[in-house]
Amino acid sequence: MKRGRWALAAVVCVGAIVFMLTQLGANLDFYRPVSEAVANRDDQGTKEFRIGGVVKPGTLEQAGSLTTFDLTDGEATVAVDLDGTPHEMVAQNPNGCIPVIVRGRWEGERFAGRELIVKHGSEYDDADHPYGDAQDELACEVAPVAE
């Protein structure tokens, strides 16, 4: 009786851990900067991942519920079709090189996004900005939005 109970407990625990690891493996969201994502395009197939970069100034366009823009990390650029409206930070300041992460998948050469997240740093120090060098070349307007 006692031994049976322990065996049952062990089976339940092992089962729970196996379930956890399976779930973990099935729900990993990879993150890649644009240039790395482009380099990995063939391996990635149509699996979902998160791509990171800044919105290239002057490329943001909205048509109905579809938003298109170019995403760049200074080294490579990808055209993104976002299903939905962009975050207010981007919409209000399309030339601000706001760092964003788009969740979605490759559709040929274009990236079909279903969610856009703005990266909020805890400090607004441009030196820490991951795309610091790219910003100069892109002629970003870092000035805040004003109506």
């Binding site: 956890m20 779930q23 729900n27 409206t85 706001i98």
Partner: protein, 661 residues
Amino acid sequence: MRAALGTFAVTLAAVASLIGAAASLVGLRRGDARLIRSGRSCVWIVLLGAAGSVAVMQWALNVRDYEIEYVAKNVADATPRLFTITALWGALEGSILLWGFMLAVFMAVGARRFRDRASDPLVVWATIVQFAVALFFFALMLGPADPFSRASVLVADGQGPNALLQNHPLMAFHPPMLYAGYVGFTIPFSFAIAALATGRFGEGWLGDTRRSTLIAWGFLTAGIVLGAWWSYEVLGWGGYWAWDPVENASLMPWLTATAFMHSVLVQERRAMLRVWNLSLVIATFALTILGTFLTRSGVIESVHAFSESDIGSWLLGLLFVVVVGSLLLIGWRGDALRSPGRIDSPVSREAAFLYNNLLFAGFALVVLVATVYPLLVEALQDRRLSVGEPYFRAMTTPIGIGLLFLMSVAPVLPWRATSAEMLRDRLLGPAAVGVATMLSVVLLGGEGVAQVLAFGLGAFCVAGIVRNYAVAVRARTRQGHGRLRSAVAVVHGNPRLWGGMVVHVGVVVVAVAIAASAHYSTIRAAQLADGETLAIRSYQITYEGSETTETDQKITTKARLRIERGDDDLGVYEPAISGFPNARGAIGTPSVRTGLREDVYLSLTNTENDDGRIGVEVRVNPLILWLWIGGALMAFGVVVCLVPQRRSHIARAVVPAEVAV
């Protein structure tokens, strides 16, 4: 001048911590009560230094002393008063300052409370551990996280707080509550280590730390709920919890602490689970340090940011010392820790507590793995990833359902063993209420197995608590007391039990709100010109023009949106977008029409564009208000638990055996 004064105060606290620890240790070895007393009185100097350093920082922030780098980085001339005060915990160095001050307050309260047992080795060891932790944090402030370091360049105006942190008054309450919770667990931790050091790991240290554990848990609970509320009211994405590493960092110690508060009851009653309880307390403290490491060292942004400051290695070092040191202590005590008691039956109160603990520990493990795994992968393979929300949903839903079930059943189980008749007698009524609730939810069109179960088990649990309370009150009324007086006296006779039950009701309310809001929300987005209307569920949202206001702090554009339901005018709500001079881009501020049944949550995604259209996102989120109400109930339950017990023969005699803890 202020910088020097601040550094002096921090140094004073650090030195007093060091002397206090040394004097207590030497005094204990030599059996010198006077030396121990002098060591203890260092607590007051630590408090003085810590309070002084916080006061100096507040002073510097308020007079805009930009010679201090922290001031220059975290306030600007235009920062309003409230956010000048909250700037103390807006960034790393200041929040460590607050941390040190709160620790000093907890230590001082402890020193007063145990003043009659000043030379009791258990208390002395606990004090030594507290001094050591305090020394760590004050040394951190003298080293890599110096709040009073001078600015290299003197600026004319400061940068101001992070835009997200100067946008809502909840910022004034959420972080201090959370820190009070984190810091508070230092006290039970210190007593756990003291129990191991003195070999007195019986039940004494549990009694000594009961109140501080409860208080810390209450603060942590309130801090987490307020954080969710802040996220909901400020961030504008319509949710309140994103399984973000920062959120997970606060949830993990809460889970292990909650497990501890339950398993303590088993040890008090049956002298079992001693090693387990020690481990839970130590794990809770270690997880608060891990959480601080995760949120404060920059590893979440990038593992490689870790090397940019020494804070990460300091905190990791402390974590290592705590975990390895505690394991060694437990191993050293080994056999002596073996508990005399045994669990007799798998259907008993103690067994239910054991299941509860397994679920909470499992919950903590689920969150820990998903929080730490991405960091390990990045460090080892240089690949960046995160764990998606479906993982958390798949793992935590069954655990949550299991916990709700235990909450319904466990409070009526007797200790040691139970009989089928007793179970039927006590559970049949509440279970019927639960089943009836599930049926009505399904009939009303509720979908989702987990959701329906959450509603049903919630009703089961509350019905059980009401039944127990009614039984206890009736027993007392029968002795000739008035009904109202009996109702109060029952709680007074065992505030810990009934306070705990209030917390349970709060948890049920939160669980139901989570289930409803996660599953039954609706969202619609549109571009609206002046006068245009968007329909969602039974609501019509009409755009009635925008208005821009400018202050030195920010430029805000508000859109006027009228909400109507049928012919009812529910008023005008004004979601806004603000630009801050120190931030790129804009920060949205949602506007929420809060209701008991559902919220209408409006966020502005863009101000008027070239076509004169604004972008709005409208969500209808059911029962969200109940999350905050449930949180408040949990906090109230903790307060009830802290009411001193009234011990009278009558009161004890009439608490039915089945509900006595």
